[in-house]
Symmetry: C2
Subunit: 200 residues, 2 copies
């Protein structure tokens, strides 16, 4: 039985974007089953008392450089970052849930992250969400209607509450069983743990 790697991500989080470009190959290399879990970082911050890096100016300034360092490391184009953080992302995260229901999860995640962080498009603009939904084979009108359904709203809240209950305090968060790994920069340790799990 293959080990599961749960990937909690939010479209507001540029570090989640960076990780999203790496997780599939990592899962492939290690034989892990990747589970995509959109959640709401704002809810995580509220529940844990954590704050975004940009609330400390020197940290925020470094983050802008650090993101570009990682983009270069991963062979990605320079990130386009919105003039203000946080990026509103509730609808985008719900759209990922809808795409996952319809077997288009990973495609939607990649296309939407690309729209936001490579093309500088707004994550909350319905036209952008609709265009990206169409791009990955969803029916835009249906998908945009579905993200307003109570069961989809609840599913996002449940993912968020569950991540917090299991110890998450930021994004991206990874779980291998109950073993938490926080941050794009922990993918190395995630990979080591998955290799050990396979050998065990």
């Amino acid at each position: 039985m293959s080990t599961s790697l749960e990937f909690f991500f939010d479209f507001t989080s540029p570090y989640s974007y960076l990780a999203s470009t790496q997780v599939e190959r990592l899962a492939e290399r290690t034989g892990a089953r990747l589970v995509w879990r959109p959640f709401l970082l704002g809810g995580v911050f509220k529940a844990t008392g954590n704050v975004p890096p940009l609330s400390v100016p020197a940290k925020g300034q470094y983050m802008l450089k650090d993101l570009q360092d990682w983009a270069r490391e991963y062979g990605l184009p320079p990130l386009r970052l919105p003039p203000t953080f946080p990026i509103p992302s509730v609808k985008a995260n719900r759209l990922a849930l809808v795409a996952l229901e319809q077997g288009r999860g990973p495609a939607l995640v990649h296309a939407l992250y690309r729209a936001i962080f490579q093309e500088g498009r707004s994550a909350e603009n319905p036209d952008v969400l609709g265009a990206v939904a169409a791009e990955v084979g969803l029916v835009p009108e249906e998908a945009l209607a579905r993200i307003e359904r109570p069961e989809v709203k609840d599913a996002l809240r449940r993912n968020t509450d569950e991540a917090v209950a299991r110890g998450a305090f930021g994004a991206p968060s990874f779980f291998i069983g109950e073993d938490l790994y926080f941050g794009n920069d922990r993918l190395l340790l995630v990979e080591r743990a998955l290799v050990r799990a396979r050998g065990a």
Copy 2:
């Protein structure tokens, strides 16, 4: 001319300890000149408005696990952590400056980090500082007297102020020229940058 890699560290910082076990080999692999720069993390936090990870409970709990993950990754024994943070470290950091003056810097740094994070000894106990000083070939009475000298106190403050002026907000911090890298987990990017600098 070889590129300099400046390593700002504080004995209060377990992530600086982890990095200290890796930096020399990294410098060797990349042909960089390693510059050891003790500074005072408390002063950095005060100047930048940053806060230690333990101020967010979920983050603090994760940190304790994460440190052990890195210790395992680096082939180090499990870290021994003091019951309360922050570990007072002003005298320890000044002792590193004194050891650097006398050509015993790296030896002192390794021996003192080992005493703190492998043996669980107090970083501010003069007996511990004296024993570690003796272990690396310093005269303990002289070294312990010298850490109270105004020029040594000033040197630690200067390192701290300089790191903040250059953008640092935590420990460990690395500089390649004016390019800042924050955290043990950025050693990969530090290495890439040094390799590029050599090839340039």
